[in-house]
Amino acid sequence: MINLVAKYLTGELTSEEKKLFLLSVAEDKTLRDELAEFDQLLGHLSLLPQKDDELKAQKSLLNFLKDIDTKKERE
């Protein structure tokens, strides 16, 4: 089952496989708890800085400030 969990978490399941997987998760509490543990893991993994963080943040900030200016002008 860990293979399916890993494939689900990494977006490797086809929509049919995902449907079957989620159905088995709904019926199996152990599997549901296991999946929740992996979500906790992914949450912790998301904390690590990545190489393109700075660029992404700068781009997004520029757009954000532009939107704020546009909103102000409209007001």
Binding site: N3, A6, T10, E12, F38, Q40, G43, L48, S60, F64
Partner: protein, 172 residues
Amino acid sequence: MDFSKLYLSFYPKLVRFATVFVVYEEDAENIIQDLFLGLWESKESLKYIENMNAYMYKLTKNKCLDHLKHQMVKDRFIVSTQSLYEQEISLKLQSLDNFDVELASEERVEKIVTKAIDSLPPKCREIFLFSRYDGLKYKEISDKLNISVNTVETQMCIALKKLRNTLSLQLN
């Protein structure tokens, strides 16, 4: 902290965190943009926040929980039977509700996570990093490293199991 500095240091990691729980990256980006809009409107009060890291993760968690709850209601309204998406967000809601943001915002956690990844066997770590942080599919990793898709699959299982075990031992 100056608003731009706050945005630059938190935006990418908060989007990454939110994406784990709200299923779609686009939703995560909207949630975090909305969060920053709220902060912009009350930016004068930011100077009174003592633990910015904990504050930002707490805000993100609450915003994501609101989003998931809203999506569940919306989905029920549209489809009378429980849809696949509803099942998925119900699982995510449960996971996020249990996620300890106070703990995650402690500086030591980042070091523990880094150490856990570094302790994976070299090939396993390489495959894991390609998948998790470069967003490569199993097939792309297998082509890149000239190995079979089955090997990638096996190594990803090993990586996830090892990381889960190590982190649950060290963080709980």
